[in-house]
Symmetry: C2
Subunit: 453 residues, 2 copies
């Protein structure tokens, strides 16, 4: 049995959904189908999830919601129309869209979560109708009915692993395909709560683990995961196979093709993952597997980079003499509910690296004010933009000279680094860099390691 997850671009319109239908119909092992909300049909298009967030904002601000409601309904109707589904079969979906603004929510966060979750929630309902209409019996499965529970973090929820047991009870003996919306679960109170953006991958991984799937297929719009961002290097090497840990480190630093938290259930259940292309389903794609299954040997598997970071630099003499110095800083962070990513330190210097997608300027200002007052550093600097490059590969484990291959081309290209962090992970080297230098750095490193002139 396979769990097959389809991303937003694979479900953006009827034309794409037809391809998804063909893929599912071609293999009776594709039993559990996890779906995203309809994504972009063209570059400047708006994802249904983003339309729903606009709808949520308009609702909160008591603005007119007529146009936005109509835009959202239109997306689902367009898909239904492509397959010739009768208008009336969308009545309940329309009603649910209307009803969203009328329900009571525990908080604004839960309101946003419920609105956003409906992108997937309604799409799964629609897809079950379409598949059945096309002659492939399919049934919508609400995460509530299989007990997919999450914690109380409304918009960045964590899966409650006790749910594996209840999900495992799902009856697979039916001939129907089971269509499950990704991205969200329910709290103990029965509220919808979403994973972080892109979290449909997580739902797929949870289902695959709970049901001990033979394979977790993750359908997206690329034929393979490439060793480097194709926007930086034209025609980069494709990765045919990699380990869970390699994928996890690469996705952390910008390989957006697979959500980094979605790896965990797969690791725990030993579930093999296959990243495939909806538009090229015969291509083998990329397999993400346990380390014991990897046959290829290569010095480096992939190079990822992301400029989504920010950093705080702090200097104070005798900084590391004091027991509990960093503790006080972390207490300040906790008070402001700010998590940090890395904290490289020198003798009297400390850099703290943050994921700025989770930070607001107000939070940063408040945190800096508290640190200045409580810690009294000699120097305190805020770098609002900070790039991280990760060079990842099981082949780097214990290999002497891995770092030389990375820093030599940077030197030759006159590129300076803000940070080098090697050794915390055995399979990766992390570099900190000014965001405007990141692309040239990645290019220089890639060309050296993959020996391209």
């Amino acid at each position: 049995m396979k769990v097959s997850k389809f991303g937003g671009s694979s479900l953006a319109d009827g034309h794409q959904l037809q391809r998804v239908f063909n893929i599912v119909n071609a293999d009776s092992n594709r039993k559990i189908i996890v779906v995203s909300a309809p994504g972009k049909r063209f570059t400047d298009d708006i994802k249904v999830t983003d339309l729903l967030i606009k709808y949520a904002e308009a609702t909160i601000n008591d603005q007119n919601t007529e146009t936005i409601i109509s835009d959202i309904k239109q997306r689902y109707h367009d898909i239904a129309y492509h397959f010739g589904l009768p208008q009336e079969s969308l009545t309940d979906i329309d009603q649910q869209i209307d009803h969203l603004a009328k329900k009571h929510y525990r908080s604004f966060d839960y309101l946003f979560a419920a609105f956003a979750a409906h992108g997937e929630y309604l799409n799964a309902q629609l897809i079950a109708k379409v598949f059945t209409y096309l002659g492939l019996p399919a049934r919508f499965i609400d995460p509530k009915q299989i007990g997919l529970l999450v914690d109380d973090n409304a918009r960045s929820a964590t899966f409650n692993t006790q749910s594996y047991e209840t999900i495992a009870k799902l009856d697979l003996s039916t001939s129907e395909r089971l269509i499950i919306p990704g991205f969200f679960g329910y709290t103990n109170n029965g509220d919808m709560a979403t994973f972080s953006r892109g979290g449909s991958d997580i739902t797929g991984a949870i289902m695959a683990r709970a049901l001990s799937a033979d394979l977790y297929e993750n359908f997206t719009d690329v034929s393979a995961i490439y060793a480097v961002n194709p926007n930086i290097i034209t025609h980069p090497a494709a990765i045919h196979q990699m380990t869970y840990d390699e994928m996890r480190e690469l996705s952390y630093a910008g390989f957006a093709v697979f959500h980094d938290e979605a790896i965990i259930p797969a690791i725990q259940g030993g579930i093999r993952i296959n990243i495939k292309n909806t538009n090229d389903p015969d291509a083998p794609g990329t397999f993400i597997v346990p380390p014991t299954e990897v046959q290829e040997t290569r010095p480096v598997t992939g190079i990822a980079n992301s400029n989504r970071f920010a950093a705080l630099y702090l200097h104070r003499y005798l900084l590391n003499k004091e027991v509990g110095f960093t503790l006080r800083i972390l207490e300040i962070l906790k008070r402001h509910n700010i998590s940090y990513e890395h904290m490289p330190s020198g003798i009297d210097d400390l850099t703290i690296i943050f994921d700025k997608t989770n930070l607001s300027q107000d939070k940063v200002d408040a945190m800096l004010a508290d640190i200045a007052a409580d810690i009294r550093p000699d120097t305190l600097k805020w770098l609002p933009s900070y790039g991280i490059i990760m060079i990842v590969g099981e082949g780097m484990r214990n290999r002497i000279g891995a770092l030389t291959e990375i820093v030599t081309p940077l030197k030759e290209n006159g590129i300076s680094l803000q940070m080098v962090n090697q050794g915390a992970s055995e399979i990766s080297i992390m570099l900190g860099i000014q965001p405007d230098l990141a692309d040239s750095a990645v290019k220089a490193i890639y060309n050296n390691i993959f020996k391209i002139e």
Copy 2:
């Protein structure tokens, strides 16, 4: 006015003290003389401070102290005898040694501190007598009488900076040389409390800053600070001049010639430091100065290494997703009163590096047990011995390729690293290495950077 500090080897016996006398006598600007306890006269000799610690242990354990007391007295008597001082002038010193075991102490820690401090305390008294006897009027100054206060950390005290004001009142208009014991101060309760070992350098720096000395001379047994440990490289380059920060980073990682905490008062007061050799007083030595005064340009100033570290390695999936994860670890460290040195992290990996000189096996075991129970890591490893190499130089500031010069010779010599930490400090790169590889690594890096074949 100069503050001149003499280390234990410069004061080990009468022969050495004669040299110190000549140096002080040769320059009337050498007004404030800070002295250590008598050090080793030959390789297997025991420092007076270590004899006093034995004496303290014997006292606590209610053992016979007759031999140890006699050994301690003998060291001071030998020095006095060398100069022909009459026996009776040592009566009060002998009495103080006897009396040590009879006093009441607030705690065992304060007992140890007081015993250890007497190495300097008595030596300063003796040296004042000797100098005066030789015709150079000198007066013993008790840190108590000038208000040199420290905090309550009996054996690793921190100077109370409010004392600068009281010390500054010391009358320098006298023609006498003022002999001040290094290494200790007094708590607000009037108890003796020592700095960490080698802390006489700190006393000298405090005096130099409090009295705005023109120069802080630090007399030791080497004619210069060398760019690398002479036990690793024969005839290494001498460092004629370096900045405070360079010295601080080098002394952190093993350049024992100057106590790393002693730099702080010098920095704050802008006091120039001159490391000189008691046995070769005409050699210019090494000047440690503000960054604006350094004229030489060179890629690297020095390479230090120390194997006094230990490390904890921890792996847990989604480690960095959790706000307050590291906070919980640091709270455990604080509960066990353990300070850490560095904490490099990967996505799911965390290494914590400790100075093992401050750790007992019991503390480590208790800490590891708490971390295992509270954090439940997937992997938890303890590395009881961990080496750190610091490559230090103002010339590394913003210089592209500094890291290449370091990792290339390591690759060529087949030496692997456990950690690379660049970027926290602008003037240094920190490497983590297996202790048994550290010397070969230092040699390879030194030979490459200083271009020796």
